[in-house]
Assembly symmetry: C2
Homo-oligomer: 271 residues x 2
């Protein structure tokens, strides 16, 4: 197959539309840019429709191996010339491969979680880069799932996928309304640890063991009033400087790893 | 004074050049966008040359108060029409004020730190947003200074200032080469806790009490070989998922708050 050289090629034009949320909604597909990200999607069983690649840009061993693995998995590989590829790619890394995939459709009801799972809920977080960074930290700290409630951002926004390094595919992630998420948490008997800048308790005072959800709100407005009740403990991080809050992905990383530390130590003690 | 309406106004043209690092180097000045950021600079004693403002965009109580305080501090206020203001501002928040300031010039030799200070060193971190987010977490966790070594980014890049929420002005921050930073740390008797993905020790095993520097490298290449020796302990964060590293600002937040926790508990015990 000769590399596609026309910017007017319908496959290319359709794929380029997936850079916008409107195109993603209309086609039910998403765009995955980057070697690590495509590999994560492949491993997670995301349905890859086709992968556009630009031969001269696929120079690393990782990209060569991924092309071979995609071919093995019978994913159609579409060679393109550089100007055409440039129309599909974005961001700073040019790794020579962009995949079109069926949008993973995940709902709360699909989540199958261990009895003592640790999960996170993000409410109203708008910047895709922040959501992606939280997903990446959730992956690192071994969280079982991330729920995006009343999300200002599409989980499959290209910047979210990128910032997540593809962990948006490997961590069970789903979107819901806040009402749905609260009802689901209450029905499942989750303890909620809610991050609030005005909370009474330090984050180290909370109990993160057993079935626990860490809830984080947007930087502008924080968590909504829905995050109150007997199942919720509000915690804050010490803020010793001039700013009154951390970036939401920094707060998330601190809480996720504090929870992991407590849960790991607890395991050690019990053994 | 009538609002400036011409995009060709020399003051406006000179200020707009400060959006690029070349312009900042040539003029020795920086651009500070946003109410919180300008207030932080004012409080930190940064020399404000002039502040462009767009009356219709200055609607919050905070922006009104800042205008009053700037006027009180005898900072020249320059009213502009919206199209002119749009040429100076950037980012997503339009808060109606952009300041021109003399670039703060800070060197290692200027740092005056407590004997038991906790500081951070970032080596080769390129994205301004990441550097800014690290500064913001450093401010939150009460670090005494942040050193940017072999920095791929200008501390006063507009995106860095923004991501830092202005804490780049209130936290003592300076740039240096890695060689300078290592020599300075060794001469000062600092213990260095270096974050490395392949380190032997878990981050919770390190001693962060007393005079301690937390060193973090770029995501692509990690810390250079300079970060070895008897004064250095390498630590890692558990990585339980599919990705092999966290975002540098997430790693920073976890380490800064783990250090703060240890140092605070230690204080408590001693009392």
């Amino acid at each position: 197959m000769d590399p596609i050289s026309s910017l007017q090629n319908p496959r290319v034009k359709n794929a380029a539309k997936l850079r916008d949320s409107r195109g993603r909604r209309q086609q039910g597909r998403i765009l995955i840019d980057g070697v690590r990200e495509i590999r994560a999607a492949l491993q997670a069983g995301v349905q890859l429709v086709e992968v556009f690649f630009c031969e001269p840009l696929c120079q690393t061993a990782e990209s060569r191996q991924l092309l071979a693995d995609l071919s093995q998995a019978a994913v159609p590989l579409v060679p393109t010339m550089e100007p055409v590829f440039a129309k599909l790619t974005f961001g700073e890394r040019a790794e020579g491969m962009v995949a079109v995939a069926t949008c993973p459709s995940r709902h709360l009801r699909d989540l199958v979680l261990p009895a003592d799972a640790l999960i996170a809920v993000l409410e109203g977080v708008e910047k895709p880069g922040n959501v992606g960074a939280v997903l990446r930290s959730a992956d690192g700290a071994g969280l079982a799932a991330v729920i995006v409630a009343d999300g200002g951002t599409d989980l499959y926004n290209p910047n979210c996928i990128r910032a997540s390094l593809g962990t948006v595919f490997t961590t069970p992630a789903c979107a819901a309304t806040t009402v749905e998420a609260r009802a689901w948490l209450q029905a499942g008997g989750w303890r909620v640890v809610a991050a609030r800048v005005d909370a009474k308790f330090d984050y180290t005072a909370a109990d993160y063991r057993g079935r626990t959800a860490i809830a984080l709100g947007s930087e502008a407005t924080g968590l909504s009033e829905a995050w109150q009740g007997e199942d919720v403990i509000a915690v804050r991080l010490p803020m010793l400087g001039s700013a009154d809050s951390l970036n939401v992905s920094a707060t998330a990383a601190v809480l996720f790893y504090a929870a992991l530390r407590q849960r790991t130590n607890d395991d050690t003690e019990r053994r």
